[in-house]
Amino acid sequence: MTGRPLVGLLCALFVEGRHWVRLRWDFNDSSYESAWQLSFILTILAAVVIWLDESRYTAVLVMIGWLPPILMPLQFVQSYGMRDSVQLTAFSLLARRNRLRSERLGLIHQSAAFNFGNVTFLVTLLSSAVAMTAESQLFLAGLVILTGWMLLANGRCRWQSLIPVLLIAGGLSLAGQHGLQRLEKWVRRGGGGHDDRFNPNFQSTQIGQRGQILQSPEVMWRLSTTNGQSPPRLLLTSTFSNFLGLSWQNQHFPFAEVKSSYVGAERYYVLDEKIATESIARQPVFNLRGSVEKTFAMPLPGSAVGISGLGDAEVERNVLATVLIKPQASVVDAGIRWYSNEVIEGEVRPADLTSITPLDREVIREVSAELGLDELPDLKAKLARLKQWYDQQFRYTLDLTIRQPSGISRLGELKAPSALRQFLTEVRAGHCEYFATSATLILRASGVPSRYAVGFGVIEKSSNQNEYLIRGTHAHAWVRVWDEVNQTWLDFDPTPSDWMRGSVTRMGWTQQMKDAIKRLREDFFLWRTDPDNEFVVVMVVSVFGLGLGLVVVRRLWRSRCRVEAKTKFAAYGGLREDTPLSQLESIARKCIGSRPAGMTYGTWLLGVQTEIGQLEELREAIALHQQWRFDPGPMEESMQHRLRELVAKLERELIEALRERRKSGSG
């Protein structure tokens, strides 16, 4: 149920095969130790491979999914060994030392042994419940069927009483699964943080909140240019049109697939359809390399025309220049062609202030009038004045000091001015979201269509030549402005340029090490998946794996031995005659529980005497039953009749007693 039925089936066959195969090995303690070491090495290898392949959120889940096959060596040693348990000393070096010392000194050493099957069972259950492609319906149905089968096979239940048990099992598994899914979500979010998956139609801002802006210093992308070309200054992931109080939102603009065509062997995703693919391939290029999620928004310069190096990924975009990519691997190295003056964004050119509150609208109009933007002739002058105003009058800070008014006074007024008013008129300090939001709205008030844009600033040059690092701290917001004259969109960054100084700080050595590891991991992944190197990788891995497998199989084959099938205590196959008293067994079972295998029927049945109090008759019936059953000689007709009589009477008494008991139980 974890998406790999073949592997699961093989594991199950492997575990259950011991019942059909007589091949066994006489494993000693050191075999258990080497099995554990093998499992351990496999775990480490799998962890490394999964860490290389998967994003950090899914790695744990994928790892859990692979645990059952990883633990197979230990299960093998238990299933096919002569002992039915695994010594605890196999796992701990300390315990092993202790045992060796005891052996040397001639002390008696008792080591705990346990059935490893339980561990395997638990791990399998866990992996089938939480692993990446676990299917909950199948899991539930499977669990209920298995529980029912187990109960029926044990013969403890009848069909009627099976139903509530199955219901309970189903309920428990549902609850357990719900819990596991919650855990999975928690793991995905990276341990309790909020779910910050990218949403192209909603961008919450920290406008009107207090505190300090915290951004991750992790490297998200590495940008490399060729031949010392300078990179774009801003990389856009998404733009937004409507400001609703505290957040930027879009109507749900649909995503359409981006067309692609091949130049040589390389597949180009064409963002600007007016340009021929061949000429796109000749455009200036820079590469973005980074670890990605299953769906991610590609940061692109506003003038990007095409993307290459994605293999056969799914690429979609909407009219607001958001490009969503579903990559095939967890690390991408995209080549981005850019530098064109063509307009590739859609027709959405909002120039009104309808979405914002009347109070905000008022202050925006005031500021726009104060700056006299309407009187200026062209866009360039308007932008210059705005930029100058921000640069001179405002200060950039990551401290959130402006607070959204939390209530309304008795006179129907807000207790405090809105956050935007405070920013524009009183505080005049804030971070990029304030600058970008207010500038977008002010420009719209003066009749310039504009959108709020989010993305990254390319500001940190790495120690490598032609390489720039884009970290979480470089996330930025600015304005996309429509240039009516040239019929194009421009990037306008109203934030005072000292924001970059705050964002580029010297990294501590831990961060530098993390960066280096990430760089190594990504580069190795790309090297490994490169078709040119794939052959080498496959050869090395298969030669290593085959060699190891051959050594293990050869050693196992040499030390194999066969065991005779464990004969069950021979059940009597001859004629056996049930007596009328035998029919009482099912009723008596409700009173005194099932009969243990080694207890004679008479001794067992005597247990009901406390219920019915007919000891003499019970004894007589048992004696007659024994004669009927175990005396090979003929039994008189009158005695048979007597036994029937007694049984009928005892049955009545028993049923009566049961009814009484039930009554007193419910009363």
Binding site: F569, A570, A571, Y572, G598, T600, G602, F630, P632, G633
Partner: protein
């Protein structure tokens, strides 16, 4: 008088002397009836000798002899010896204590292995070979051997092969406080064994043995006996398992027990009641099990609980 009544008389007579041991008395008598020998492993003073004496006194015409086994006891002390008679100028055979009906071999593990094996040959084969001449011990021959379970210093524990010659091994154990005070009361004036009169004859016992062989034993229970004994051969804690002689003994003893129960056939309850006494002493435990503190009797008890019994 049928066999059940005869057996009942004997049991009542013996129980009147050996108080508070009705279970063990019945088992010992069943062993006698089945034609086997018994080994009593018990502390001193629990009534082993009294039991043996009571049995012999209850049976008219039964001869009783007792041999105290010591390390210097020689085979000839048990079997008998020919001594030169100067008057008749020839060797005359003096039969040893083995020529009797009931023999109490007290503290059998104190004698040397040579003497032990002389006795055990007689027990197994019901014959004694003395100076090349064979003497048959036909009719009734019942050995009650005893050994002390605590004092092992200077003893020669019986080898496994010879333990197998004993049909059963029981222990009397201490009686309850009430029974013990009854014993005191009964012996205030004199030993009740002195007043014990024979209740049955020696021929009655031989008749009982014959009758026990006719007790019906169903095929299904035969399978049960075999699977119970075979289970000891698959138990991992057992080094030396029970032989077919154990199955045979279990069948014979449970047949004899049926006579005392007044039944014409054997029930699974009877088999279970004697299985531990018949099987356990024939087993040799593996060293690990021995050091882990388990005993053969416990293991047989556990097997009785697990081997499916015919309902």
């Amino acid at each position: 008088m049928n066999e059940h009544q005869i057996a009942g008389k004997l049991e009542t007579a013996v129980s009147s002397v050996v108080r508070g041991q009705s279970q063990v008395v019945r088992k010992v008598l069943a062993c006698l009836v089945s034609g086997g020998h018994i080994l009593l492993e018990d502390y001193p003073g629990t009534g082993k000798t009294t039991l043996a004496k009571a049995i012999s006194r209850s049976i008219d015409g039964a001869d009783f002899k007792r041999a105290q086994f010591t390390p210097d006891l020689l085979p000839s002390d048990i079997l008998g010896i020919s001594i030169y008679d100067p008057r008749s100028t020839e060797f005359r055979f003096h039969p040893g204590p083995i020529f009797t009906d009931i023999l109490l071999a007290d503290e059998i593990n104190r004698a040397s292995p040579r003497t032990q094996s002389a006795l055990l040959e007689a027990m197994g084969e019901r014959q004694a070979t003395i100076e090349g001449k064979r003497y048959d011990l036909d009719g009734m021959f019942f050995v009650i051997a005893t050994q002390n379970p605590v004092e092992f210093r200077g003893t020669y524990p019986l080898p496994e092969a010879q333990m197998d010659r004993f049909m059963m091994q029981c222990s009397l154990g201490y009686v309850g406080t009430d029974e013990e005070s009854e014993i005191l009361a009964a012996q205030m004036g004199g030993h009740p064994i002195d007043e014990l009169k024979p209740v049955i004859t020696r021929d009655d016992v031989i008749g009982l043995t014959k009758a026990s062989q006719n007790i019906r034993f169903s095929e299904e229970l035969r399978h049960y006996v075999v699977s119970l004994v075979a289970a000891t051969r698959q138990h991992e804690a057992i080094q030396l398992a029970a032989s077919p002689r154990a199955s045979l003994g279990l069948m014979k003893v449970s047949q004899a027990m049926a006579i005392f129960e007044g039944l014409d056939f054997v029930t699974p309850e009877l088999i279970q009641s004697v299985a531990v006494d018949v099987i356990a002493h024939r087993l040799v435990l593996a060293a690990e099990a021995r050091y882990a503190g388990s005993s053969a009797r416990e293991i047989v008890r556990e097997l009785i609980e697990t081997v499916p019994v015919p309902a």
